[in-house]
Symmetry: C2
Subunit: 208 residues, 2 copies
Amino acid sequence: MSNRPAAEMSLREYLDRLAAKEPVPGGGSASALVGAVSAALGSMVANFTVGREKFAAVEENMRQVLEALEVERRALTNLVQADMDAYGQVSAAYKMPKDDPTREETLQTALKAAASVPLEIVQRCLAVLRLLPELVEKGNPNLLSDVGVAAVCAEAGLKGGWLNVEINLAHLADEQYVASVKEALEACLGEAEALTRKLWQVTVDRGV
Amino acid sequence: MSNRPAAEMSLREYLDRLAAKEPVPGGGSASALVGAVSAALGSMVANFTVGREKFAAVEENMRQVLEALEVERRALTNLVQADMDAYGQVSAAYKMPKDDPTREETLQTALKAAASVPLEIVQRCLAVLRLLPELVEKGNPNLLSDVGVAAVCAEAGLKGGWLNVEINLAHLADEQYVASVKEALEACLGEAEALTRKLWQVTVDRGV
């Protein structure tokens, strides 16, 4: 097993490590990858739209969408590794001697950090989903099916991230923080499901 | 851009190529990757279950599930590249001289092959989904959230594959083949949605 960052692993190596009897990478990291796949598919559609006479009227708009999608893709790609690192911190805190007076605080800090990573995955997948309707309306229609695939992947990444925030919240003592995160999550999930349903339907209705 | 098979590309390179203004890899290939992620997550859960005293009663069953998931993972990993290759065949057929008497037959053969790849993605994602309820019931409960992530990823891979079968069917002349594939797809989609809904609910209900 190599120690290079996840983004530099081959698909095969990453999948082998995901399947292995090792806690990381796990569902959080995988959710970030699926989110990055979604952003990349959106970028492909935008890349097949910009710089073409036929789509000149939406050129500036599509460039902005592309730029925004690339920001999300870079962030989500980094989160594939960040989720693995955050787990390492939690695991190290649990291994501290039980009578160490700094143990509980170290653990709580690590858990908050470990919850914040999948929370960012959720938020960035939602950001991708919010950009997709513009690709449906103004993007190259030959790639409509790729927007549809991007939508279902973004939803999967978001829901996967959501489950991984919940795991870390379960052991957090700061009730106010837990309540505020749960509220933010609920809103994200509802909006994501509605957006995905709409994007999926339009993709299917137009006969792909 | 390298010519090595997709599974040997780094995550970063694959995502860069997915986002690029190149037809492949596209949504079909990405769907296979997301399906492979799903199978790998299922395998992780099974790997944390087998060989442990605590789960001795389900050892044989979990070993079978693990073996089946690994078959699906290997196949889906290969389909990441196979979808790219199938597109190449269709593209080459379209570029044949219009007056070549073998053009139409070559094109139809290429389109059928190009439809059969995402059809296999759909079927293999469904096979993964069908294995997940056993992991919920008998697998290591500490990894329940990973089963939930696997479920949403399998559904995304299946729906992404579905859209990519449809694209290729649109240009196929063999109406009987088209009708039979569409019928098979409808059944897969309905079963997958029902399975995913159930798996998601059980994951959320048990507080992850």
